[in-house]
Amino acid sequence: MHKLANSCAIVGMGRTICKKGDPDKKSPLQLIAEAAAIAMKEAGIKRSQVGALFTARTPRAYMTLQFNQSLLNELKLAPMFSSEITAHGAGALGAIELAVSLLDSGLIDYALCATGEASPLWIEMVEGSANWEADLQFEAPYGPTTPSIYALFAQRYMHEYGIPPEQMAKVAVENRLWALDHPHAAMRKKGPITVDDVLSSKMIASPLRLLDCAPWFPGGIASAAVITRADVARSTCEKPTYIAGFGQSSLHEWIGERMGLTGIEPAMHAPNLLRTGASVAAKQAYQMAGVSPKDVDIAETSAPFTFANLLMLEEFGFCGVGEGGSFVASGGVDYNGGLPFNTTGGYLSFGQSGQGLYLLKEVVDQIHGRAEGRPVPNVKLGLVHGHGGPLACHSVMLVSGEPVQ
């Protein structure tokens, strides 16, 4: 067990949502500032106690340099550290991970980490997305789309491990069942789906069909967390959530160059597309906490395509390399009886909101028995994953209701 295991705890979380069609349409800054205010109130701290303010990347619909400064200005904070932590969708958890290191050093007593997106409310997503994911000189002129960039991983994944589309589709079916129980899930009202529904949905970017792809969350979501050292948490917070372990790994910026990476994990001996930083981050997290995958009671991943869920189950160690398909097919993440996995409905059925700590909030809520959707009994240890840059940057965090032993 690493000295940082259990060293810090989450003592306040806030989450705000604005859906398409709501009469009060909100900007990303509004949503994030409001989430931060809720988190600070729950933690019972004053503005003067915030020693670090970390945001993840600037919301797409609120492009300003140094978004952290916009938020700091709004909340009238004066922290020792103020910064954006930008590793695509891994940056949100990455902000908390850096905060833990700072808190443990004793330089600060409280950190506020806040992030969010509201792009579907404000900008045309389909037109713009690929230009965020592709190299504008060497890739964008060829016409890639975001699904097609993920599809390059998917095609290789199916080829190398013989994963049939039915096994990929199964994870969408199970995710959908969780979404039916969640009041905010994008696909809640669409009802359950079958493997055949996925396989007969229209082709988007082979091998990915419509129901292999996550929809955008129909609106904006912001979330914020206040973190402090465990000793402070124990004396000030009735139900702290301990940060048991974490890890992070960033590998590339553009998929066309991913195969130019070798001599470093997870491509130590040869370049490969399929072993991602998630395996590196998960291993770091387990080692820090002194636990193994079998100790995990609930897992939330940021995988926005069916195959990526299978791949992440491998990367997190819930099954062996190349076994993601058979693991899912044999009931490994079944709504009834499997590992509770993507309990909001996941990106596939809750909807994707770019980045955020709302998956972390789901695990924290499940641990303390206050989930908005279907409750999972007896959650002691949860795993949260954030990633972005088409499988380029990954953060994994393990959290628990009591310090892990």
């Binding site: 230009n131 000189q137 890639p144 991983f153 095609q155 988007i204 082979s206 991913r258």
Partner: protein
Amino acid sequence: MSNEMGTGKAMDWSRGVVLRAGEKSLGLYQPSPETTGYWQGVDRHELLLKECRDCAALHHPRRIVCSECQSTNLAWKRASGEGVVYTFSEVHRTAGAFGVSVPYVVGIVRLAEGVHLFSRIIPTATRKVAIDVPVSVDFRVLEEGYLLPVFVVREN
């Protein structure tokens, strides 16, 4: 390219050399000093890679620093233009100018030299795009009007 103040004329980053690929310059990110040679090669219908003059390692055309030996002594080296499909996707839903061509195939090609490039991959009447299928470079003007290296499936 930035606008030279007062004149309204576009200035490029390499002392007057016009940086273009095809009929138009390349989108938001213009060719920059470390990549202009690549696009000049494209104009001549040559596919260029970066080669380390110190350790002979070959790299993606973007490289500034050799990842094998950290040398900055990199120079252009013409590639054979032969390779195989490493992975691919047939795009059925797209946006902008690309809509006229759906379905089209994007993918990653593993060149004979061992370097991987993102590109457009073009099937023939008798052979579809698939992993490990051999491909050869060609130069075509794609939907947005840029002349680009693409890879065409080889029949044999």
